[in-house]
Symmetry: C3
Subunit: 136 residues, 3 copies
């Protein structure tokens, strides 16, 4: 397999709006380069994809200072969920909920935003992760 | 070298129980897929592998909300150190302490849990990192 | 392309001194192994590379405890910007500011430390990311 055909695997752990936006930008960039993208939602990131609160305020990373926060909030003209939707339209982007984290928060597929394609175990995710893997 | 034979390199920086659990789950998943795993312990992650406190409460990521924390605490039926032990039994998993971080905390090998195989410099770790590299 | 020739791509998001130091150590290690390195500065990491405050105190990760902080502060004999300079002298290391984050903080190239080579869009960064990609 050529380098360019290898998928970009994004393991999303954090559920803050700045990290989810950074992840969505990477997904859009990879999709624009015709690179397949696999997103794996764990922990707080999975919690942020709940259908009833995906557009809620998910705060910023705790390191954000009072001086930085307004700039970061101001920049997000497009919500990260909108960017992920665009990435899906442009390229081959799969969004998978981690089965262990689904159990952790006692969630079912119906609790999640339709952006999420399916529920997957970590071994299945790993089997597809033949390219770079990023933990955010 | 085929994609599948390339090791997964996990650089562990954070020492919170949720991130260490997420890392251990990735290690177990990779080991189950017969993929070699190299773990490199730095900073707060190394501090969490001290022999006398590996089972202590290492808190959660600062972003965890009061609503999320009970679910995350409740999920960890198996401690991350136990998962890493299982990963070592199933596959080829090396756990290396970063030499610079050992100096930082003034630690010797005897201070660390026996899960840690050896002390390694960053250049040696990099030389083995021919596959995906994940920073947690 | 052989594994060893593929660049290490470092996406720097966090702007705390401990994470920037960890990133700089990875860059030095990769450069020492003759591996090309591409650094992409986003969010708080980009803010830390401002010319007028690169040597300021950028704090530690919020997870650092009062017991750990003195050790971490004490270890940084060499500033991370100095380590990155050394990495550039030893190997092929490019440091790129994310165009979106430049807009976010209303920065121009002249606001940044000369360590930063240029401003780049995420698609261009992705096109060069044929090896491991690390998000810090």
């Amino acid at each position: 397999m050529d380098d360019e055909e290898r998928p970009l695997s994004l393991v999303l752990f954090s559920g803050t709006d700045d990290k989810l936006s950074a992840a969505a930008v990477l997904a859009v960039g990879a999709a624009a380069m015709q690179r397949p993208v696999n997103v794996f939602l764990q922990y707080y990131a999975l919690d942020a994809f709940r259908r009833d609160r995906i557009h809620a305020d998910h705060a910023l990373s705790p390191e954000a200072t009072a001086a930085q926060a307004p700039a970061v909030h101001g920049q997000h003209a497009e919500h990260w969920s909108e960017l992920l939707k665009q990435a899906k339209e442009v390229g081959e982007v799969g969004i998978h909920a981690c089965a262990l984290s689904m159990d952790m928060f006692k969630l079912t597929k119906a609790d999640l935003d339709p952006l999420v394609d399916d529920i997957e175990g970590v071994a299945a995710f790993m089997a597809d992760a033949t390219g770079p893997m990023v933990f955010i």
